[in-house]
Every structure is written in structure tokens, then in C-alpha cells.
Symmetry: C2
Subunit: 516 residues, 2 copies
Amino acid sequence: MKKTTIVTIGSVLVIVPLFLLAISINGNKAEQKTITAAAHAAQTKGDIVPQIKKFESRSSEWGKYYQRQYDSYRQTRKSDKITDMLIDYPALVVMWAGYGFAKDYNAPRGHYYIVEDNINTLRTGGPVDAATGPMPTACWTCKSPDVPRLIDKIGELDYFTGKWARHGSEIANPVGCADCHDNETMRLTITRDFLKRGLDAEGSLKAKDATHQDLRSLVCAQCHSEYYFKKTKWTDKNGKEQTAGVVTFPWDNGFSAEAMEKYYDDRSFKDWTHKVSKTPMLKAQHPGYEMYKTGVHGLNNVACADCHMPYVREGGVKYSSHNVGSPLDHMANTCLNCHSEEEKAFKDRVARKLERKTELNKTAMDVIAKAHLEAGKAWELGATEAEMKDILQDIRHAQWRWDYSIASHGSFFHAPEETLRILGSSINIGQEARVKLRAVLAKYNAGDFAAPDFSTKEKAQAVVGLPYQKLVDEKMAFLNGLRKEWIEQQKAKGLYDPKAWEDMKFNTSYAPAETK
Amino acid sequence: MKKTTIVTIGSVLVIVPLFLLAISINGNKAEQKTITAAAHAAQTKGDIVPQIKKFESRSSEWGKYYQRQYDSYRQTRKSDKITDMLIDYPALVVMWAGYGFAKDYNAPRGHYYIVEDNINTLRTGGPVDAATGPMPTACWTCKSPDVPRLIDKIGELDYFTGKWARHGSEIANPVGCADCHDNETMRLTITRDFLKRGLDAEGSLKAKDATHQDLRSLVCAQCHSEYYFKKTKWTDKNGKEQTAGVVTFPWDNGFSAEAMEKYYDDRSFKDWTHKVSKTPMLKAQHPGYEMYKTGVHGLNNVACADCHMPYVREGGVKYSSHNVGSPLDHMANTCLNCHSEEEKAFKDRVARKLERKTELNKTAMDVIAKAHLEAGKAWELGATEAEMKDILQDIRHAQWRWDYSIASHGSFFHAPEETLRILGSSINIGQEARVKLRAVLAKYNAGDFAAPDFSTKEKAQAVVGLPYQKLVDEKMAFLNGLRKEWIEQQKAKGLYDPKAWEDMKFNTSYAPAETK
């Protein structure tokens, strides 16, 4: 045969199967619905026209039209384990003495439990009416789609004024559809203005310039970011001066631990005064977005949703899973989309990252807890403000940096290098405080002072003088009283969504076994 | 037209250019020589049959047959900058007080300079004959292909016996071809038995099981690994008992900083006793291979040579560059082979890795240097062995870990997480020593002792009492005396390779300007 004949025959052998394959693919495509963030348009081409009210906080109402997303969202209820971090790391009790987290701190469960856990934690106390309890209204802000609804209704400054219990009858639904989606277009949308203000202050990505891919992280960043409650004076409609505690992102100098530390120092801001060491303290609140931006995934603009809300297939339908959790639980849809690795080897590497963080984390906690107790001893022996000033500043910075580096979920994975760097810096500053403290203690004849034992949660809570049973009793009274009233009020207002509470079981670290 | 007709015409339009392209590629291939580690076979098919003696230490002899590799190897002479690390980091002088590195320590230059720099450094002193000078023979071991030649000639234990100056007339050539290649097959080969023994003791990769890809890292690991000089008794041919200092890799418990620390502790081994703090010290010696194994490149079996000796093209010829240096200097042939990134963005990320390491590195150096000086003060005031025991153990461990994490070249890149973890641990242990020291100092009425200023190389060398000018004078006398004799002897023995010294200029951190 001539060469050209061979080529022609060969080409037919190659092309025909390719052609048949193409027909087959096209056939599949016709059947397949791809449900993405732009699903609204597709849905409205069918028989069902979604009717979702603006600020509809009941996710089950959205679920009527976006059933797969809703079903997957409800799977977050399977992440229901209570892990008492104060048992695992008793040093935390010492580090947070005088602050809510020393009372009760569990590892977070699924989004489904976010309101229930906020109501049950000892941190939010046992209010007896709208004006009592330890926490301000701001503590609801990241928990519920009722928050943007309420802010729209009464205004942001009014929302941020008063005690946590004031909004108990309004906050009825856990984080859900309305926190991230526009009710008409289903597009991702920022529902918390403080994120927009934070982004604009930081400057590298103005809120108005956010792309769809940016928003696939920014809707998460509304809550998974560092914030504080900024005291803001305002005048209500009756002409009365009020003070709001407005959730504010301290991003003016940048996202780094040092940039935010400077922000707070420049404003002499403190979250609380430490009960033992008298240090003006900062509490870092999950700076997840900021940490993620420094890691390899963030630098490559891999969005939160790419790994935590991966596309999944059910039959011919593809949609973004709303069962937000660890990507390692379903690697075929997450990590392995980009990484060609053996699943086992991959998990081992991630485990090693966690081990490294845990090592330095434990060291930092031990150092800082000891520094607090040694400072407490120094005060007790008569140390002066002048002697203690630098020491307290060191303790403040050491604990801030430690907290920044570990408070954000998954920092060990999102930004392992930044996490370890900051922990190293925290350890150093905490130990600097201890070197200085040793000299002060020696001056007061206590150079050999050894901090009391804080090796269990109970011992640590005794060391810092925490009235644990009283807190539990107050909480139980609240749960059996005011909290039940709230639910009735929510039902009367049409806010209560039975689906959001369907499988809820009372479950905490402190409840007596028979009530669980 | 019918569908089948369209397909046939279309297929010809696609297939014919593909066919022509295939012919063109085949044509190129015929012209192209791929010179790899198996190049020997290809070479011998030509006119030239390589005639390279076993243990030929003169690389120019190999270069007669492997000209491109040799030319690229000689490019390492362009990495000729002298960077005095003791000027950049004066704390090093304090940390190494009583040890050679406090005298003189420059950042390494290219392989071309490795023997010259070993001869010029103040660390190797100013011997006046074969039996004088501060260093043992082992200090040549990683510098020259004359070492395996000499070991073959006189035996390993004899080689490792005596003073450094003993082998001066034998070590004539810098690291070169014979360090890594078999003279007959050109295959990669381990020429240092201590690596084989180390691998077998560690156990995860037995030396006999090493693949070609493994060897592309292991030939480097012969030198870029942690080692110590193990005292080994033997009897010479005259029946006289001798003690060799055999280069030994402390890998029995594993590659990690902690595993080797335990190895040394279990043997009560020390490299020297610190002049100021009296601590039994360890000097980490570039554990580059060990660190690399913990990083993402090592875990993915990317070999040293993949990045440091990339394949390059010259005309139609492709070969492995032997200009070992930073992959960032020619990213198109290295990083960008695997990573699809903008070169600028990539370099920025690497720079950030270096910044993180530098931050914790500086902190650790400051902490440890102060601990030494504070311990020195405590001894001076009369502290007892019992009071100091734990403190010295902390200082030993802190400095070992610091040194392990930064002594290996490029650890900040090869294993950034492991580097930062170990630095964090080093800082913590160093500060623990300082907390304890503060109590001891206070006991001797020096609770407010401040370490003397060590902020410049000169100040630091004065603090630790280093007779700098005397060391320089001795070195210059050696260079103008014994060293010149060595060169004449090397020439007489046929070891001297003029090409290996062609562009050599005397260049050190200490020489007076007029001699440079």
C-alpha cells in the first residue's frame, strides 16, 4: 500500500471511535444538570419558580427549591462530637482566667449545631431576662442568618447594643442559606458589612472588586476571621446615648499576627484583664481567612469552597456539597482532584503537619500558663507596676500570637509555616516574660517558686478560682426557663424552623449524665 | 456532504500534519545525543574510548571525555563570594566559643573552592608539619576525590588517624567526578563507606537497595549529612595502638534532630566543651539529606540532582548540568519544570520562607548566646555543678537543635516546616535554661545580670577571648610555608591538576586587603 492509503485507513480507525465517543458524551450532557451558584436561572426554566423571601432565615424554605444542597447542608449534624478542649489542654483554663473560655470550651461541631452550642455553652451564662448575662449581642453575629435579617430590621448599631439575651427570641436558625446567598439570584453575597469594611481597610482586595472565586472564600471569611467588639457611641430614636459593641476586623495594618497586634496596641485595646497575672489580654477569634491567605492554597487562590464544599455527583447531577467539614473525609472529591498521590501517604503527611503544630502549641501553652501564675505570685509578694509592666506586655503578646496561630481552624494545614513561625515567636516572648519574672520573684525571695499544678481541668479551674458548679446551675436554670420562652416567641414570630432542630440532642461537656 | 465524507476529509486534514511532525521529531532525535549517567555506553560507540583510571582524582582527566559536564562543573568557580557569617551573625562567635567556628566561618562557595577554602580557613589553623594543627585528618573527608583514593591506598582507619596536615600533600583536588561516578561505567556510586554504614543503621533504605533515582540524592548525602568523628582504636602494621577519628553518621535512631540528640546523649559524646558556659557541646554538620527527607520534595522522591543538576540543552545535546548551585538561578530548567507559576511570584514565596527561618534563627541565636554568657557569669560567681547540670543540658540541646535546623544548606526551602518546628523547640529549651539561670544568678546576687555586648564580630570575639591576630599570623605563615611544600609534593606525585586551580585567587574574610 502507498503511504497515503495507510494514513487514510489509519485515520478512519482513529476518528470513527472518537466520533462515536463524542456523540455519547453529548448525550450525557443533555441529561446532566449542573447545579452551581448560578442554579437559579436553570431552575426557573423548569416548572418550579423559587419563592424565597428576602432575609428568609429558615433554610428549609430554601431547601424546597435547592434540595440537594439543603440535604448536604443538613449532613453537618453528623459532626456532633463534643470534645472538651479544657480537658485535653488544662493550661487553657489558666491562660483564659477571668474570661469566658476558661469556663467552657469545646471543639466546634458542624454548622447545624452553631446556635445550640452558643446557647448551651457556659460562656454565654444564665441570663434571666433580656438585660442580664455576661455577653453582648455581638456574640450572635456569626451564628445565624437571623442576624442580617435583624440588622435590616432595627439597624446595625441598635443590633450591636445590649446584652446577648436581648436577641434570644430573634435568633432562631443556625448558619444557613441566607448567610451566603442572594435570595433572588442565588449568587454568593456578603451579608455582613463588617467584612466589607475590613477588606476595604486592609486594601489588597476591595470588597466591590471581589470575583465569584473570591466570594467562594469571602462568604466564609464573614465569620472565620479575627474580630473584636469596637465600642461605638450612637444616639437612639429617643435621643438617648447608647454604646454599641460593633464586630470589627482589625485589618487596617494587614492580616499578620504582628499587624493586628500593633492595631490593638495602638488603641490600648484589651478583651479582658487576666484574673491572675492582671495582664491586659487579647483573645484571638479564629483568624482563619487571614492564615489561609499566607498558605500555598490561599496563594494559589484555591477557595475555601474548593476543598470544603467540593462538587459531588449524584446520578447525572453535579452540585456543590454544603456539608462543610474536613476535606480529608472525602479526598477523592477534594485533595485528589489536584494532587496525584496515594491517599494513605497524603493523610500521613497531613498528620505530620498536625503533630508539628501540636508540639509547639503544647509548649507555648505550658510556657504562657506558667508565666501567668508566676506573675500572679509576683503581685502577691508585692511586685510593683514598674517591675511588672514589661512582663505583662510580653505575656499579652505571647498569648495573642499563640492564640492567633491556633485559634483558626486548620491553621496547621492551611498555613503550616506561618503557624509554626508565630508559635516560635510566642514561645520566645512568653519565655522572655518568665526570665524577667524569675528576677522579680528572686527579689521577693521566691526565686525557686514553682507554679501550682494545673495538669487537669479541675485542678486548673481550682487554681484560678472558677465557681464551676454555680455556672452550671445558672445555665441549667436559663435553659429550663428563659430559653424555653425564646422558642415560644420564635414560633409566634414565624422564625422557628422545626427542621433546624429535628435531631438536636442536648449535649455539652458539663451536663450531668441523666440530662443528656 | 454526508457525515462520513466530512469525517474522512477532516481526518486527513488532522493526520497529515501530525505525520509530518512525527517525521521531523524523528529526524531531530537521530541528531540528538542525550548524555545522562549512562553516557558511557553511548560514548564508547564512537571513536573515543574513555581511558579513566580507577580513583582518578583529577577532574580534568574525566573532562577529556565528558566535556559538557566538566565545563558546567567548572562554572561553580563563579560562585566565589566570601560572606563572613560571623560579621552577619556575631552571636555565632559566642555560641561556638572554644571551637573552630568561632575563629572563622564563611558561607560556602562553589564546589570549585572547597579545598582552597578548607586550607584557608582559620579553623584548620597553621600547622608547621604533618603532626601539628588543631584538626584531625577527617576534616578532608568531604572535600576531595583524593580521599577515596587515599583510603584505598592506606586503609580507612589509617586515613582517619592523625592530624589534618598529615594528608596535605595528598589532597590536591576539589570535589569532582570521582566522588560520585564509577570510572568505567560512569554510573553513580557511593565512594564513602560511612554513608553505606549510616543508611544500613537507619534502615529505611539499605545502601544495597538504592536505585538510580536514590543515588541522585545519595551521592550528595555522602557529604551533605550530619556526622561526627567516632573514636576508634586499631593496631597499625607495626603493632602500635592507634586511635582513628572515623566519620560516622549518627543515624541509628533515625534522621530527626531528636533521634540524633538521643544518639549523642546515650554515648555522652561531645564535640567540645564550651569555653564560657562549660557545656558539653555538639556541633551539627549540615544534615541536609536528613532535612530534605522530611520536606515535600524529599517525600515525593525528587532527587537533589533534579533541582541542583537539571538537564540542560546545548544545541541538540541534552545533559545534566554539574554547576551545582541554587535552582532559583535558572528556574526555567528547575522549578518551572513541575510548577506552573510566574517566576516572580514563585521567588517571592521562597523569599518568604527564608524570612520566616531567619526570624526564628536570629531569635534562637540571641537566646542561646545569652544563655552561654549567663552561665559563664554563674560559674564566675561560684555556682555549683549541681546547680548548673540541668542548665548545661538545656544549653547543649538548644544549640544542637538550632544548629541541626540551620546548618544544612537550604533547610528553609527543603523542609521549612521541620526547620521552624526545630527552631521553636530550640528557642524554648534555650529560654528554659535562661529561666533557671536567672534563679541561680539571683542566688549569687546577680539577678539583674545583663550579658555583655556581642553585637559585632570583634566585640563577640573579645567577649570570648579569641586571639584573632595570632590565628591570622599562624595561618599566613602556614600558607607561605608548609602549604607551598604540599603543592610541590602534589605535583611530584602527579596529583596536581592545574585546571583545578586555574582561576583561584586567595580570598578570605581575614586577609589584609593588600594580600587579596
